[in-house]
């Protein structure tokens, strides 16, 4: 048995990074160890991201097909690692509010990123399921990190229990797939499904797998956990949930629905359309009356999932390209916005929108990043979010779903409405206190980088679009 360990290089590196940081933590319990581990985690994840970028061009598998190293996996690994780096750097600005056991926070973060990488590289259902559970358990720990706070423990408990519930549904779907094809291998199942005629059991599998994954990416009506958990979790982790975890969910949706379920696409596109309509309407409208910044961003992020799912409705190269671009842009915009919330909460201890009054006077950088990030999510031209929505709308209009695109555009106007309200609070209202807010260097790097990339990708998206298109072509081959 020959194993090409090069294919696992980013994972091996990330795993060793986590273990190494743990060992470092045993050996050195001095002053400043937390910051050192935080920075090391960020740098290490960045290196892993470079390694992962090297695997985007690969299209092969190893370990008897349980491990896939294809462009889809490579692309999303870069996305996960990038958000991991940003979250690590942001967390360094959040230490005061995290409580105790700070070094472990970063070590867990490394393992969390690793779990997502395994999810997208899994070539069989068992590896896939185990990796998902690995991710859920790690997330639950991190969501409940501020264990002395009621809201945090509540969020963690809700997250893990509801995840167990949805995992059961997903597992039921996966076991149906196994029953239908007699194999757990994804490509084997795909071959078996496309060979035989569709059976009712396959439709059941579609529904259950979809319900399980819809929970992970919080499509309405599977979104219930999102606002509560987002609000209770430490803000950097909320950002990771909205950026990384969501991307992982969509990576799996692409992986499963465009391969295994491709022969019955007429069946599930119908379902996707309904979910998309529900999600963008509810996500955007319920965001309007929110008063808590994290809750508002949570609903906005629910809405984003509704747009991303449209790319899967199109189920063609352009649609997948749009989803891939959206996932990347979402990391920048969401972590930009949550990054501002992180720094702000650390300085003032508040999350309500009212507290943001006059932010432009207290810290112009924070206000500007928040403005551009939210407008990017809303899809204002010139920012990356516009390109993402544009490609996706284009894909579904190409399929003749004009009314859906129309609804999408109308709902993004609603998004502009509530995001401009934040802008008004930040730029127009008088600040309650005048004290300037200091932005730590680590957070500054993240905020400036996300802002610059959002602008650059908005003005010159061609390089990333090219990459996304190549990945999409590989997926649909």
């Amino acid at each position: 048995m020959v194993i090409d360990l090069n294919l696992l290089l980013p994972e091996i590196f990330t795993g060793l990074l986590g273990v190494g940081l743990l060992v470092l933590f045993f050996l050195w319990r001095g002053e400043g160890v937390v910051r050192a581990i935080g920075y090391l985690a960020a740098v290490g994840l960045a290196v892993a991201a470079v390694l992962a970028y090297g695997t985007v061009a690969l299209d092969t598998s190893t370990l008897q097909g349980t491990w896939l190293a294809d462009p889809l996996a490579g692309y999303f690994k870069v996305v996960f690692l990038l958000s991991g780096v940003m979250v690590a750097l942001l967390s360094l600005s959040y230490l005061e509010r995290l409580g105790e056991s700070l070094a472990e926070f970063f070590i867990l973060l490394v393992f969390l990123t690793l779990s997502m990488m395994v999810v997208i590289s899994a070539g069989d259902l068992i590896t896939l399921y185990l990796a998902l559970e690995f991710q859920v358990i790690t997330f639950a720990i991190m969501i409940g990190y501020r264990r002395r706070e009621g809201a945090a423990t509540e969020a963690a408990l809700k997250y893990i229990l509801l995840n167990a519930f949805s995992s059961a549904i997903l597992l039921f779907g996966l076991s149906l797939l196994f029953g239908l094809s007699g194999t757990v291998d994804i490509s084997g199942i795909a071959a078996a499904v496309s060979a035989g005629s569709p059976q009712p059991a396959l439709y059941l599998a579609v529904i259950f797998v979809l319900a399980g994954l819809a929970f992970k990416v919080s499509l309405v009506p599977f979104h219930m956990w999102t606002p509560d958990v987002y609000q209770g979790a430490p803000t950097p982790i909320t950002g990771f949930l909205a950026a990384g975890s969501k991307a992982a969910g969509f990576a799996l949706l692409i992986r499963l629905f465009l391969t295994i379920f491709a022969p019955v696409s007429t069946v599930w596109t119908t379902v996707f359309v309904v979910l998309s309509v529900l999600t963008i309407i509810l996500g955007n409208f319920v965001a309007v009356p929110q008063t808590n910044m994290k809750r508002l961003l949570a609903y906005a992020s629910v809405g984003s999932a509704g747009y991303m799912i449209m790319g899967l409705i199109a189920a063609d190269v352009t649609g997948v390209e749009g989803v891939l671009f959206y996932a990347f842009m979402n990391v920048l915009a969401i972590l930009g916005a949550f990054g501002v919330a992180v720094v702000f909460a650390n300085a003032t201890g508040r999350d309500d929108i009212e507290a943001y009054a006059g932010l432009s006077k207290r810290s112009p950088l924070l206000a500007l990043v928040m403005l551009l990030s939210t407008l990017s999510i809303a899809g204002i031209p010139g920012l990356a979010g516009f390109v993402a929505k544009f490609v996706i709308f284009w894909a579904i209009i190409d399929k003749g779903l004009v009314a859906l695109a129309l609804l999408g555009v109308v709902m993004s106007i609603v998004a502009v409405f509530y995001f401009l309200r934040i802008a008004k609070v930040m730029y127009v209202f008088e600040p309650k206190e005048e004290t300037p807010i200091r932005v730590a260097p680590a957070a500054r790097i993240v905020l400036v980088a996300s802002m610059v990339l959002t602008l650059v990708l908005g003005i010159y998206p061609a390089p990333l679009l090219d990459l996304a298109r190549e990945v999409a072509l590989a997926v649909l081959r």
């Binding site: 048995m1 273990v19 743990l22 060992v23 045993f26």
Partner: protein
């Protein structure tokens, strides 16, 4: 159906064995109950209070620590059974696995989880 017959036989025998043993004992033993004899056995001490008592959090941590060793053993059985066929690669694999668990144990140790206060 072959396989299911074996399983069914196994289930029936598994249920019958304790039933027969306890049933015979009930028939043979003398029966003269008194209050002390009927009380719940708790290390010879008189039991008191409700059954729903709150355990100290430390017990849970020990239960978690136990899982480390428990799972380790579960994985090592099939590994040991096939060790000769798998060869050196399996040895390295198992060493990595154990290494990770040892690391977890050291972490717990360092965090003073093993100390009973």
């Amino acid at each position: 159906m072959e396989g299911f017959f074996d399983v069914g036989l196994y289930l029936i025998l598994g249920a019958a064995f304790p039933l027969i043993a306890v049933g015979f004992a009930a028939l043979l033993r003398p029966s003269n109950p008194d209050p002390d004899k009927l009380s719940i056995y708790e290390c010879g001490v008189d039991p008191y209070g409700d059954a729903r008592v709150r355990f100290h959090i430390r017990y849970y941590i020990f239960a978690l620590m136990f899982v480390i060793f428990d799972v380790e053993t579960v994985f090592m059985y099939p590994w040991a059974a096939l060790f000769k066929d798998l060869g050196a690669f399996a040895l390295v694999e198992m060493l990595i696995f154990i290494g990770l668990l040892v690391l977890a144990l050291i972490y717990a140790w360092k965090e003073r989880v093993l100390r009973w206060i």
